[in-house]
């Protein structure tokens, strides 16, 4: 900005101060990017080293032997599906209420506020809730309990994006549909949803990305299972919990599997986030 100028005494102090601060800001950016590079670098290095076909085809091994991650992968998929199936409709419906019916209602503003709290609430507390609600009365851990805990994490995410996306649909579209004599539910379902479809799918993708990496709520709802099990009424293995167990152990095969699992989760999250972003930008165009 001041290159080539003759800098007066009074200004030089300010100029130098500016240089220092701006360099610090740039340094901060380098530190941030550096951390990202370090973490992703370590993850890719150790994760790919442990990644092979066996990871997808064999079950988790006993300590000291080699194996794969088949049961936690399937377990995570099953519980994610349960979470999405239960949480998405609730989130969409509630978001619809906030956007369409509740612009000026007190209930809507309270729900919006509470939803934002739930969005950032500690997920371990959600796990405690489901433990009290489902695991204790049933007397055993189960995949369905894990799925329910994940559903509670899905709802706020889907609700938020649904409301935001529905709000963005131009009022004119709605008014045109009303003018044609369509009842309100039809307007919402046929017109508004279609217009906001991409955004709502984005919300679901983001929710799935969020729950893919959640460990704490599964620790005492689904517990873990060293054998393959697709029975949702029994303890179910999941990638994050298995990573927790394996990474804290001293066995090299287990540690390698933990890194491979961590890489799988991160790649899934990155893919989903990229897909969500692509959907939302294509919509903007």
């Amino acid at each position: 900005m001041a290159d080539g100028y003759v800098v007066s005494n009074k200004y030089s102090g300010r100029y130098r101060g500016n240089q220092i601060w701006m360099s610090l800001c740039m340094a901060a950016t380098f530190i941030g990017l550096g951390m990202l590079a370090l973490i992703l670098g370590a993850l890719f290095w150790k994760g790919f080293a442990g990644l092979n076909v066996a990871v997808f085809t064999q079950m988790t091994p006993p300590p000291g032997s080699s194996g794969g991650l088949l049961n936690p992968i399937v377990g995570s998929l099953i519980m994610t599906v349960i979470g999405v199936i239960i949480g998405t409709p609730l989130g969409i419906m509630a978001g619809t209420y906030l956007a369409e019916y509740g612009q000026h209602s007190r209930l809507a503003s309270v729900v919006r506020f509470i939803n934002d709290i739930l969005l950032s609430a500690p997920s371990i507390v959600i796990g405690l809730f489901i433990y009290e609600l489902v695991v204790r009365p049933a007397g055993h851990f189960s995949g369905i309990a894990g799925g329910l805990a994940l559903a509670i994490i899905v709802i706020p995410v889907v609700l938020r994006t649904t409301e935001d996306m529905l709000r963005l649909v131009p009022v004119q579209l709605r008014e045109a549909a009303f003018a044609l004599g369509m009842p309100r539910s039809f307007v919402i379902r046929r017109v508004v949803y279609s217009a906001a479809k991409a955004g709502m799918i984005t919300g679901v993708l983001l929710a799935v990305a969020r729950i893919s990496g959640e460990t704490a709520p599964l620790l005492f709802t689904a517990l873990n299972n060293q054998f393959f099990s697709a029975n949702i009424n029994q303890p179910m293995a999941s990638l994050p919990v298995v990573i927790f167990q394996f990474a804290g152990s001293p066995y090299k095969e287990w540690q390698d599997l933990a890194w491979a699992g961590a890489l799988l989760i991160t790649l899934t999250v990155l893919a989903l986030s990229t897909a969500a972003r692509a959907l939302s930008t294509s919509r903007k165009k």
Binding site: L77, I78, G139, L205, Q234
Partner: protein, 349 residues
């Protein structure tokens, strides 16, 4: 049809197609002490009978809790419950296998079994009173070893542990100061050190941290090539932890005379005994809710008693002697019954 639903459908399809037809798994949880051998037995048993054993290694405290809550078929603990506690909870307790607890260290240049420690010194280290490796007390026991002046980093358990129970039981027997300041139980208020989860966590932390000392069941030290120490036992001799010294300690056990087989084997007399030997126990309900699965569990334990000896000894665990197995199995037939009062186990000679 959005992407996540497609992925989920594919996953379910894969799950349904891959899932073999198998019998329900036996669910157990508890001590990390015997986990290496239980896992090995479970693997072999599944190959032979296609019945799976799903064992969660969450610590003896967890095993006791889960069996009391009836969320598992059996609990596993190295801290035996006393006779009256067993009566109150309606549980049957029996020993499964024995092993030894060893101190493990991470010091450059020190090989496994090279360092010698004794009870009072070990207690002082874990009390935090001895803070550096070249402390005179340690040096006195190891006159020929060059010890660094670096700090001792204590690693102990953060969870409820039967291994801790046996370890602190030994420490309180050899150190009156430990007895008054800390005491012995599955979880204590540790004066020093970082807490790790399970035998696995302690082994992992000692492996990662230079200058660390911890205590683990011997299989963990052996499998992970950690440096263990020798200990000076009640007979005054420095012994290595191995099958011989474990068996020497176990020979003194009075299984018959102790209610619930609740024998504690620390600090046993004898020149060859390993001072921190311990038995690990299984807990089952006298009247289990799912009699069929409980019966399967008993079949597994019987198989382990009869066919699992070599696998146990490979990992330096001591299998139960034949006469104890007979006593245990008659206890099963007398005490474990289904809802109609019929015993789940028939003693076959």
């Amino acid at each position: 049809m959005n992407i996540s639903k497609l992925v989920a459908a594919a996953g379910l399809a894969m799950a349904v197609s891959v899932a073999p037809a198998f019998a329900a798994d036996i669910a157990g949880a508890g001590a990390t002490f015997p986990y290496p051998i239980y896992a090995k037995w479970a693997d072999a048993y599944k190959k032979e009978t296609n019945v799976g054993l799903n064992y969660q290694s969450i610590g003896s405290g967890g095993g006791i809790k889960q069996i009391q809550a009836k969320t598992v078929t059996f609990g596993a603990t190295d801290a035996p419950l006393k006779g009256d506690e067993l009566e109150k909870a309606g549980l049957v307790q029996f020993p499964m296998v024995m092993g030894g607890i060893v101190p493990v260290i991470n010091l450059d240049g020190i090989t496994p079994g090279q360092l010698v420690l004794d009870g009072p010194t070990l207690a002082k280290i874990f009390l935090g009173d001895i803070k550096v490796w070249n402390d005179p007390a340690i040096q006195k026991l190891n006159p020929d070893v060059k010890l660094p002046g670096s700090a001792i980093l204590v690693v102990r358990r953060s969870d409820g542990s039967g291994t801790t129970f046996n370890f602190t039981d030994y420490l309180q027997k050899v150190s009156p100061e430990w007895k008054t300041r800390v005491g012995s139980n599955t979880a204590v208020e540790w004066p020093a050190g970082i807490g790790a989860k399970g035998n696995e966590g302690v082994a992992n932390n000692v492996m990662q941290t230079k200058g660390a000392i911890g205590y683990v069941e011997y299989a963990y030290a052996k499998q992970n090539k950690l440096s263990h120490t020798r200990m000076i036992n009640a007979g005054g001799k420095a012994v290595q932890p191995d099958l011989k010294s474990f068996m020497a300690a176990a020979a003194n056990a009075d299984w018959k005379g102790t209610p619930g087989y609740a024998v504690v084997l620390t600090n046993q007399p004898g020149a060859e005994s390993w001072p921190m030997t311990a038995a690990t126990f299984i807990l089952m309900h006298k009247a289990p809710t799912d009699a069929a699965i409980a019966g399967e569990a008993l079949k597994f334990f019987d198989w382990a008693y009869r066919k699992g000896d070599k696998m146990a000894e490979d990992l330096d665990y001591i299998p139960m002697p034949e006469n104890v197995v007979k006593m245990v199995e008659s206890t099963w037939s007398q005490q474990i019954k289904d809802s109609s009062g019929k015993p789940l186990w028939a003693v076959t000679n």
